[in-house]
């Protein structure tokens, strides 16, 4: 019996040491994680640690992050701008970010960039989103709700262990702190040059397996509604791509937007296959493409002139005639 008690005593001691290490190192990691200046995490931290104060926000995945030049939007509109787009994310992530930001800040305009498959959720994307949001479980109610619904076990583990929240991040944390991470300018992540080599022809991808998830369509609806309810201008855009797909989210998105008297800004065919020099790869524009597209997009909407004046009931941008080239 003495030996059994000794075992329990020692296990308790070990649990105590592990608990202290978990909390101690966990807090340290939290500090460094939330103070990154580069990389995707820095943008998520910016949004989820109540730092956003900009007038114009850009939401979306990697295409949003690489396609909207915040500086150009600032110059064109006279409004401050930040791009919170993040690689490998989907609608659920944008919506969590939106709810978190709206809980402490009301921007004037939001640009939401859609992907052709934004209404489909693959397991790998769900895992990526859960990993990206796990470190903020204590920071945002929207994050807590999302994790409790989508990954209750992960949510429980992250509450139990602070270290677990930062599972697999130490290398990117190190890279971002020593200046080797993905650089961004107000959230915009420029891509250099092009990976497309030789003759390139745009081909139609026959994605017969395309099946939309009604829950994600509802989430899109909720995103639009949340923005509109707050009186914020919303621009839902399908930015340029060299990948043509047989089935995509455009029709469904337009149906949802129509119920709010809105429509999708479809720039998907803005560039032709002869203009591959504007693309880093099939679906992402490089810096030249992004600059050209952002300018074109801004020209297609009339910029509010008196941003600094006390006319908050006016829209940030006033939509004008838009035509596909």
């Amino acid at each position: 019996m003495k030996k059994v008690l000794k075992l329990f005593r020692n296990l308790l001691l070990l649990a105590g040491i592990v608990f202290l290490a978990d909390r101690g190192i966990g807090y340290g990691l939290q500090y460094f994680y939330e103070n990154e200046r580069q990389g995707d995490n820095s943008k998520t931290s910016y949004a989820l640690t109540r730092k956003v104060k900009e007038d114009v926000l850009i939401f979306g995945s990697s295409r949003a992050a690489h396609h909207y030049v915040s500086d150009i939007i600032q110059e064109s509109t006279g409004l401050s701008c930040y791009n919170v787009g993040r690689d490998g994310m989907k609608l659920s992530y944008y919506y969590v970010l939106l709810k978190s930001i709206l809980s402490y800040h009301k921007p004037k305009a939001i640009i939401l960039d859609l992907n052709h498959d934004d209404f489909i959720l693959e397991e790998k994307y769900r895992d990526k989103m859960v990993s990206a949001l796990l470190p903020y479980i204590d920071r945002s109610k929207a994050v807590r709700e999302y994790l409790a619904d989508e990954a209750p076990l992960e949510s429980w583990k992250a509450r139990f262990s602070y270290l677990y929240r930062y599972n697999s991040v130490p290398s990117s944390l190190l890279m971002n702190h020593i200046g080797m991470g993905q650089k961004h300018i107000l959230g915009y992540e420029p891509l250099k040059q092009s990976k497309i080599r030789g003759d390139f022809k745009v081909q139609m991808v026959d994605n017969e397996e395309y099946r939309e998830d009604p829950a994600l369509v509802r989430e899109f609806d909720a995103f639009v509604k949340a923005v509109r309810d707050q009186g914020i201008e919303l621009y839902v855009v399908y930015s340029p791509s060299l990948r043509r797909v047989k089935y995509d989210c455009i029709n469904t998105a337009n149906t949802v937007l129509a119920s709010y008297n809105m429509r999708l800004f479809d720039y998907s065919q803005y560039f032709t296959s002869n203009e591959k020099q504007f693309f880093y790869d099939e679906t992402h524009m490089n810096n030249s493409g992004a600059e050209r597209f952002t300018k074109a997009f801004m020209q297609s909407i009339k910029v509010r002139k008196n941003a600094g004046e006390n006319k908050t009931d006016e829209p940030a941008f006033v939509q004008v005639e838009y035509s596909v080239r």
């Binding site: 059994v4 075992l7 290490a21 599972n167």
Partner: protein
């Protein structure tokens, strides 16, 4: 806390429950082989002469028959279809749509070793049906070994166990180390290996080399990690299972590699196949043939696929070349020294890695594509997704194993100083939480 006479019931119940969490109905297959071998053991012991041999053969046929039906039937049928098709005939033999029972090869081999040992007179037939069932089903080693011998484990079920503090602590320590190897190293490496081996056409020769080295460490950490957890769990309960791995990548020859890798299986094949075939006490060509056959069967044991057979055959060929080169070595052309040991170690590792290509590849044509890519150093950039962690943990593991091999006195987890010991435990747990991959990845050897 439980009375000794009831202990086997709890262990057997736990083992049944554990096995039934995978595919419940397959416990009937296990039940069938248990009943057959239990009675075969008693009958072998009771009878003499030809009858005795007959009971052994019946038992082996029953066990191998189960393996043949559940593991090899569709494979043989596939090959028959191919063979008949090449002569213009159609195969009429139907396919079976069955799932392979988990750990089938392991418990079947353990059951066979029982009847063989009873036949050889090395083990008394077990009269207690519950204890015999427990011998086959003991849950720590039921699905992925080590493949125990009855002489080592059966008597332990009768031994009255008392709470042994040092056994419990060392068992838990071994389980922790096994868990670390599995979730931090093996599952981390699996991410890189899977992304390369599942898209072989898209990667460069250098990427394929790196992925193959990663797989060598993945499978080692996956399987030895499981073995550590099994041995540790058994030791916590007071049972000693046989060692299954002894730092195999520090081997300086293929022969030595097999004395360190999956020891319970390699000794099984040595005792029950290689020696009965005549071992090395036959003519030299027959000896080589024996070696080749044993390793080919060992490949087939792993899986019903040509990739595993080629993997086994390659190791058979390595063994034969090893014997041929031993003569060259004995003439002191390569004098033994620290440097030559390193060179031999690297050559051995390279040969083992080459064979792993066939073990891991999804099919033979993928394996050949990888071989071609590696040998021609197919152009392209090195795929680096997740490689940083993979390389880091491989280096850490090799450093730890080198220290364990050469500096036995340096211990962290078993250090006499309590503070160092506990710091070691806490660090390992923290590393598991911070770097572990918790995606529910199965142990590779469960499929065998």
């Amino acid at each position: 806390m439980l009375e000794h006479k009831h202990r086997w019931k709890l262990l057997l119940f736990s083992s049944c429950y554990f096995y039934m969490t995978f595919v419940p109905v397959y416990i009937l297959i296990l039940g069938f082989t248990i009943v057959v071998d239990y009675f075969a053991g008693i009958l072998i012991e009771r009878t003499e002469g030809k009858k005795r041999k007959l009971y052994l053969v019946l038992s082996l046929v029953a066990n191998i028959g189960v393996l043949a039906i559940f593991k090899y039937y569709n494979f043989l049928n596939d090959n028959l279809t191919y063979l008949l098709g090449s002569f213009g005939y159609e195969n009429q033999v139907p396919y079976l749509s069955i799932l392979l029972p988990i750990g089938l090869s392991f418990h079947t081999f353990q059951a066979m070793s029982y009847t063989i040992e009873v036949y050889r007179g090395n083990q008394k037939a077990e009269r207690h049906f519950g204890i015999y069932s427990l011998y086959v089903m003991f849950y720590p080693q039921l699905v992925a070994g080590p493949i125990e011998r009855p002489q080592n484990i059966l008597h332990q079920f009768y031994k009255k166990q008392r709470f042994n503090y040092s056994n419990v602590v060392s068992g838990l320590r071994q389980m922790l180390w096994g868990l670390f190897k599995k979730v931090v190293i093996a599952d981390r490496l699996a991410i890189y290996v899977d992304s390369v081996y599942n898209n072989v056409g898209e990667h460069s020769g250098m990427t394929m080399i790196v992925a193959t080295v990663c797989f060598a460490f993945q499978i080692y950490c996956d399987f030895s990690g499981y073995s550590d957890i099994a041995l540790g769990a058994a030791r916590v309960m007071g049972f000693n299972l046989m060692e299954n791995f002894r730092r195999p990548y520090l081997a300086t020859s293929i022969r030595e590699f097999w004395s360190r890798w999956h020891i319970s299986l390699s000794t099984w094949f040595r005792d029950y196949v290689y020696i009965p075939l005549g071992g090395n006490r036959v003519s030299i060509p027959k000896w080589y043939l024996n070696l080749f056959l044993v390793f080919m069967i060992s490949g087939l044991w792993h899986g019903a696929s040509w990739t595993f057979i080629i993997w086994g055959a390659l190791h058979g060929i390595y063994q034969i070349f090893g014997i041929l080169l031993k003569d060259v070595n004995s003439r002191k052309i390569f004098a033994s020294s620290y440097v030559t040991n390193i060179i031999h170690g690297l050559i051995t590792f390279a040969l083992v890695c080459f064979a792993w290509i066939f073990f891991r590849a999804n099919n033979v044509s993928d394996a050949l594509l990888i071989c071609q890519g590696i040998l021609t150093l197919k152009a392209g950039a090195l795929f680096t997704g997740g490689l940083l962690y993979a390389v880091f943990w491989m280096i850490v593991l090799m450093m730890i194993e080198y220290i364990q091999e050469h500096y036995d006195e340096i211990k962290v987890l078993a250090n006499p100083v309590k503070a160092i010991r506990y710091a070691g435990y806490a660090t390992l747990i923290a590393l598991i939480l911070l770097f572990g991959v918790f995606n529910g990845g199965q142990f590779i050897y469960f499929q065998f």
